[in-house]
Symmetry: C2
Subunit: 230 residues, 2 copies
């Protein structure tokens, strides 16, 4: 009895998060409900690892995911992040033939998510214009993220990219004191630890941050913002 209630509530939750739900017909809805599973992953878990994997569509209930690419030498760069109610398409890249790139998706916080198997989603998408158009919008949204990043990399110098990254973290974490390492920032921005350390020391000399082991305290948000806008 309790279990049944649990499943019902879980399903209701899923339907609210999966915003295209009402545009699917009952048969399609039941096929999804019959195959969707809930997964809990701990911080640091790699959920999708390049072109070999095809875990399925990931819908984030709570938590935070990070999508990044990796160079041959092991350097990383964060491509985008996913938060509550965001849907991850590229973890089901086997579904769309023209997706020809390798992306890694990792839980950046403990995360609860729903997984829709790629076969289920694909077969419904092939017959449902609303679901195919929803998928279009998802992809366009990630495309916009990547184009934004490309502009950052091409036209912005590293000091502005670090400033922008720190401010984004402050906004995500809701605190001025970030628990992060220089290595981790380098991985987000596709840079080297030494380069980040040098720049952060410059920021500290300018009174914008205060550095201590494993922590960066932002001491002058407006000054960082001004740097971003330059």
């Amino acid at each position: 009895m309790y279990d049944k209630m649990g499943i019902k509530e879980e399903n209701m939750d899923f339907q609210n998060y999966f915003t295209i739900w009402n545009k699917l017909n009952t048969v399609q809805q039941n096929r999804i409900l019959g195959s969707v599973i809930t997964r809990k992953v701990s911080k640091g878990t790699v959920i999708h690892n390049g072109g070999m994997d095809c875990a399925g569509l990931l819908l984030v209930k709570t938590g935070q995911l990070r999508a990044y690419i990796l160079s041959d030498e092991g350097r990383e760069i964060t491509i985008y992040r996913l938060f509550d109610m965001d849907m991850c398409l590229f973890s089901a890249s086997c579904m769309i033939r023209s997706i020809q790139f390798e992306i890694i998706i990792e839980a950046e916080k403990d995360t609860v998510l729903w997984v829709i198997p790629p076969e289920t989603y694909k077969s419904i998408m092939e017959e449902s214009a609303p679901l195919a158009n929803y998928t279009n919008e998802l992809m366009a949204s990630r495309f916009s993220d990547v184009m934004w990043l490309m502009e950052q990399i091409m036209w912005k110098s590293l000091d502005r990219r670090i400033a922008s990254f720190l401010l984004e973290e402050v906004s995500i974490e809701g605190t001025d004191t970030l628990k992060t390492t220089h290595e981790s920032i380098a991985n987000h921005l596709g840079s080297h630890r030494e380069v980040i350390t040098r720049m952060l020391r410059y920021f500290q000399n300018e009174g914008m941050v205060k550095l201590s082991r494993g922590k960066i305290e932002i001491t002058d948000v407006p000054k960082l913002q001004k740097l971003c806008e330059e």
Copy 2:
């Protein structure tokens, strides 16, 4: 009579180039045939200029288009190119809400193309799963181009990017003698003319190219290829 034959042939051509044609119903096909127009544009024409424009879907019959982004200071970088039978989606960016970036599309050669008005395409896409899925594949394909470029920019040094660009040009143009300027290469790669000139002189010293006014002759393709693979 001749005119009618002309239109018929033109339509047949269009149907062969627009590969999803047979998956549309007769009503949808007629709506497209009733609104598609043929355009001839000369080399250098800007067909789509950022978020304000929404010319429509462009299907290249013959010629070559280039999509690029522009920095505040006027620096360019080529994002992708389109050749015969390629379809350009982002010239109809008003069609998809989540496309939030500015791209410029210019004819790199004299080009003949078909233009499908965005309203027509959108209204059919909303009801046709095949057309929506075709659009998905198009977007994924451009997404893959951009991810490839991102990897190039992030992980490859400029010498390898220039070598790779020259080889691509040789392959597109079908000749070892490229009519191009250092300025133009800088614009493709998001770099500065001076930087490109310096690198090309280094290539010349290494016997890979021979430079003259407005021309670059590739003299050692295997050596350039080896540089790309390093």
